[in-house]
Symmetry: C2
Subunit: 235 residues, 2 copies
Amino acid sequence: MDLVLLTIRQGALHVLLIRRGIPPFTGQWALPGGFVLDGEGLDAAAARELHEETGLLPGHLEQLATYGDPGRDPRGRVFAVAYLALLPDLPVPVAGSDAAAASWQPLPIAGLAFDHDAILADGLERARSKLEYSPLATAFCPPEFTIAELREVYETVWRTRLDPRNFHRKVTGAAGFVEPTGETVIRDRGRPAQLFRRGSATLLHPALLRPGSSSQLTPMVTDSEDHVAEREVTE
Amino acid sequence: MDLVLLTIRQGALHVLLIRRGIPPFTGQWALPGGFVLDGEGLDAAAARELHEETGLLPGHLEQLATYGDPGRDPRGRVFAVAYLALLPDLPVPVAGSDAAAASWQPLPIAGLAFDHDAILADGLERARSKLEYSPLATAFCPPEFTIAELREVYETVWRTRLDPRNFHRKVTGAAGFVEPTGETVIRDRGRPAQLFRRGSATLLHPALLRPGSSSQLTPMVTDSEDHVAEREVTE
DNA sequence: CCAAAAGTGTTTGGTTTACACCCATGA
DNA sequence: TCATGGGTGTAAACCAAACACTTTTGG
């Protein structure tokens, strides 16, 4: 059982890694993991491991895939069921119980033990694509958040820039994605932002698609900000 | 290792099942499966099992999920990695090597051994959703096929009726989905249809979405065929 | 000629993008 | 007041559903 635990800290995607204290791959970074106990289901085992490593209850936890190629573990044939979890930023990195050290590492990262580079890559791609058609991005956020904070999640995970104005409309327009709390906050300078919490939807409609996945014609103007009046709006 | 092998026969979706010859669940239907051999990867084991059961090479084969809830096997804790394959209609159902009997069963079906009802349901849902954004429907077709035959695949898997005219345009308009062979055939009565083969795309763009997933307003007219002139086209 | 299936064209309406523009606050 | 971020309005382009209509065969 291996866990891909992702969070966003300081505007960058991080993954929880442990430094191995025993062979093989002693001293190398690896995904946290453990074993399934007697009488425990796979999902339950993943949730327990997650709690042991981070002290958190799973906001979102899903099975990723199972890895069992010969040679992935030098000790012999070992199968690993990988799980993916998306977590809000944590107060403390918390060290695992049995690991030499545990810490959040910014992505991209490579050189992990076993086939964990590949597992991490699969987890990342799964997270990226799930943001498109599920309201999962809220799992990275605290219980109450602003639209700009939610947009930062998308921009960080997709490594893209999104138009704040269109993003706002799409998110608030997708039924059940977010619900306003009625309160506002000032995060930085500027006009106060409304606070939202997760809605009840499990699927987004319409979906938010990653830019670049569509076949676009070249736009006439390539600037990224309003700067010149292109046209007078007569109203 | 369990296999969800789907095909379309006589306009209905079928799954390959074996009748168990040994306990537990003797005499009940179950998904075909087997064990991973030494030095064999998971994907390779699934491909080998598929070949043993059907004599076919995998057109499309992908890992579905891993099942390991306690109690799924009365003999004790057993983990099963499930694979999903979509196959063209086969000449012979072919009996498995070690199974008492193997045969294609039309869906829906229930009462399978172990947790195979749930595995089959997961496989079906995966197949349904993959038809939306991948050109996988062609895996159900022979090497050359007509657009109407491809549409039948979608209609069968989605249990929906699709507009033949819009479907034709969407399929031939999605880059790399299908390529015309240049030949035509007459399948039934009516105008001859062009033959196509799979294209090189791995992702559909734009995607074909299942009807009903979107939030639709009530249409003004509920008839299914052209029958009355609604409006004169002045041109 | 008629029925039936294949395939094209058109209209309508929703979605996306690219912006202009207004709003509310701290400095 | 100005800079800054929050949020709404709008037009062009694109996409999808509904359906009229043409083409090409068999009976």
